[in-house]
């Protein structure tokens, strides 16, 4: 970053002071400064306009719904009763399932890349992580629908029959004893969460890999010299050093999972009821609501959808901000010097 103007401190007792530097910018530089500043202002104005428009449109709906917006389950904007309680629970449950599946895989893969893989394999694996992040979510959705879902139905059924004492695995709408019960386990929040986890893995893995790779070499070698095994080095040096970045990576993954739209909309059987039962073959998230209901083009419905979108935006913004702070704190060195 260029800060060409330097003012010398006024200190009369010093005999030789650094001379005062006067910066005279050329016309090209002035044009350059004002052009970039103008474009930056334009970007800022655009982005602020989007936020302001969402807020303005959504506030009408929020006024009509009042506090009921947070406690109501049904979504009938024309009747005036709509709320995000069921939708928010669904969104959060999908994200939690996705994190439970994704985080162990992502963290162990990141550790493998930084601590175990041979040098040549390291580059290949890093590319694979980046490629996994670049695959569109509709591809993961179609894969999840045709491949993962049939394999996850027996798992759902096993969880439902053996762990139904846990409220989260309870089932109400399905009779387990019925014949052909398997197909009723499809389209659940659990299956959506597992599909979303394939999109969380690369984000979480990339951030943690970067942080693990910055663990101080001296301390790692010190631990090895004291007789630590590789796992000892990881436990004593790499994990404590990378804790902040690891949590930040997990939260970035959470932000992605909360906003994921199309893969969830492909899997889920839409129902806005408030429930914590992830296996029950139905559910809803805010983003799938928007995709499935935008066609009702009267102003009240649109404004209600805006309010729901605003709630989702606030949620992901909060999560991403905390994640950004955590990751930035664990990174060292703002710029490169030579």
């Amino acid at each position: 970053m260029a800060h060409p103007t330097v003012f010398a401190p006024e200190s009369p007792e010093l005999a030789d002071r650094p001379r005062r530097i006067v910066v005279r910018r050329t016309r090209a530089d002035h044009v350059f400064r004002w052009t970039t500043r103008g474009v930056a202002m334009l970007v800022l104005a655009l982005l602020a306009a989007i936020g302001g428009y969402l807020l303005y449109q959504g506030s009408g709906a929020l006024d009509r719904a009042g506090w009921g917006f947070l406690t109501e389950d049904a979504w009938e904007p024309k009747g005036g009763t709509f709320g995000v309680r069921g939708l928010l629970t669904g969104t959060v449950l999908v994200a939690i399932v996705a994190l439970i599946v994704a985080v162990p895989i992502a963290l162990t893969a990141a550790l493998y890349i930084t601590e175990f893989a041979p040098r040549r394999l390291r580059g290949v694996l890093t590319s694979i992580v980046d490629l996994m992040a670049a695959v569109p979510s509709i591809i993961y959705g179609i894969f999840g629908f045709f491949v993962l879902q049939p394999q996850l139905i027996p798992v759902s059924r096993w969880l439902a029959t053996n762990f139904d004492f846990l409220p989260i695995f309870e089932i109400r709408t399905i009779d387990v004893k019925a014949r052909f019960v398997d197909s009723q386990f499809s389209s659940s929040l659990f299956i959506s969460g597992v599909v979303v986890s394939t999109m969380v893995i690369p984000i979480c893995c990339a951030v943690s890999r970067e942080v693990f790779g910055q663990a101080p070499v001296g301390e790692k070698e010190g631990a090895l010299a004291l007789g630590a095994t590789r796992w000892g080095v990881i436990r004593a040096v790499v994990l404590p050093f990378g804790r902040g970045g690891m949590i930040g990576g997990v939260m970035l993954g959470l932000g992605r999972a909360l906003g994921e739209t199309i893969a969830v909309a492909m899997i889920i059987s839409f129902n806005t009821d408030f429930s914590f039962r992830v296996l029950d073959g139905q559910g809803s998230t805010i983003s799938s609501l928007i995709v499935l209901k935008y066609g009702e083009a009267d102003t009240e419905s649109i404004s209600a959808l805006m309010a729901a979108g605003l709630a989702l935006f606030v949620l992901t913004l909060a999560v991403n901000t905390v994640a950004g702070v955590l990751v930035a704190r664990s990174r060292s060195g703002k710029s490169t010097e030579i």
Partner: protein
């Protein structure tokens, strides 16, 4: 304590004492190498675990399904591996080996997931895109009840994808790159505000960006569904990505280069144009390409603002226009086998576009900032040689 004897240091010119024997070359300890007996124990534990789970599963417990078998086999492998290493070495080594096995499993699972997704899509859809109808025909004359032999393809979706992506690139790349230049090269208090807002905008879920364009552009302004609206929604999504990536790249340009240029009397704009941007060129291209790869597969914005349409629409400024992700979304559950296989073909095409963009980004962005191509280096070397006088013999 006082030093009684002065320390005599051999001068820099002094030859090394001949009498001192050279210490023997120490072989470096290869930390990442796995000992052969370790591999043997691991293989043994694997076979034993699989067999144990088979006995448990097939003979004793009344359960079935390969998912449960795999988990049981894996857990018994870990247990047997730990026991075997504990007997052979000690507790610490056992913990180390088990942790190594778990960590390697995580990496294998991740690679396996990517390979399965890409492999499955290619197996299902590659045959379809070998049929040239896929790239030349549209869905216009096709319905689920059409007789066999009607040519049907995804040409309209491919055209839509490229036009919408082009609009998004035209809108978002100049804005994003210049905003990043402002934040990093000009700076100031206002730059921090822009940075915070751009950071916040990356949190906008694509569906909310689509909803904004739908409510503002399509409905309030009355423009109706069109490709331009989809491009706008995509650029809302793409601009923060390009801006942040560009800022990271510009930050990697060493400050010493900027200072050297300023010290030579160049102005700020000249420094940017002749030093900073050329140094960061490969990174800039990578940032743009990765931004494209990110938005090319976005379905929700197109779904909300560009509608569908079965026929070809070259004009992005009016009328519904589809795109590849939207095409997949409409057809993947279709009752018609023909449309189903088209959805798979579209998936392969989309994946191919992403793979090409990704490989391009790797090829161009493989070098660090300031590292030149081999050809450029050779040319620089040749010109340097022509400047130095020929050594006379």
């Amino acid at each position: 304590m006082t030093v009684t004897e002065p320390i005599v240091r051999p001068g820099p010119d002094a030859p090394p004492p001949a009498s001192a024997p050279r210490p023997p070359e120490q072989a470096r300890v290869a930390l990442r190498r796995v000992a052969p007996d370790d591999i043997g124990v691991a293989l043994g534990a694997m076979v034993a675990g699989a067999s144990f789970a088979w006995v448990l599963y097939g003979r004793i417990l009344p359960v079935a399904g390969w998912q449960g078998y795999l988990i049981t086999a894996y857990l018994s492998f870990l247990l047997l591996y730990a026991i075997a290493t504990h007997m052979r070495l000690d507790r610490v080594a056992a913990g180390d080996r088990v942790a190594g096995a778990v960590i390697s499993t995580g990496a294998a699972l991740m690679v396996g997931t990517v390979a399965t997704v890409i492999g499955y899509v290619f197996v299902k859809g590659f045959g379809r895109i070998l049929n040239t109808d896929f790239f030349t025909a549209t869905q216009r004359h096709f319905s689920a009840l059409s007789p066999h032999g009607v040519s049907v393809g995804a040409a309209h979706a491919i055209v839509g994808t490229f036009e919408q992506m082009g609009i998004a690139i035209l809108l978002s790349v100049p804005l994003g790159v210049i905003a990043a230049i402002y934040m990093n090269e000009v700076g100031g208090r206002f730059a921090a505000v822009v940075r915070v807002v751009v950071e916040a905008m990356t949190a906008i879920p694509s569906v909310v960006a689509g909803l904004f364009v739908y409510a503002f552009f399509v409905i309030s302004l009355g423009q109706g569904f069109c490709g331009l609206a989809a491009g706008l929604a995509l650029s809302v999504e793409m601009m923060p990505v390009v801006c942040r990536a560009t800022e990271v790249v510009l930050r990697l340009v060493p400050n010493g280069l900027r200072e050297a240029s300023l010290a030579l009397g160049a102005g700020e704009f000249r420094t940017l144009w002749n030093v900073v941007l050329p140094t960061a060129r490969s990174g800039l291209v990578t940032a743009v390409i990765l931004g494209c790869a990110r938005v090319v597969g976005e379905t929700a914005p197109v779904l909300l603002v560009a509608g569908g349409g079965a026929g070809m629409n070259w004009d992005p400024f009016s009328g519904v226009q589809t795109s590849l992700p939207y095409f997949i979304w409409v057809n993947y559950k279709s009752p018609s086998d023909e449309l189903n296989s088209l959805a798979w073909g579209a998936s392969v095409t989309l994946l191919l576009i992403v793979l090409v963009l990704f490989s391009l980004a790797r090829l161009i962005g493989g070098r660090g900032p300031g590292e030149s191509r081999r050809r450029t280096r050779r040319r620089a070397g040749a010109s340097a040689k022509s400047l130095t006088p020929e050594p006379t013999s």
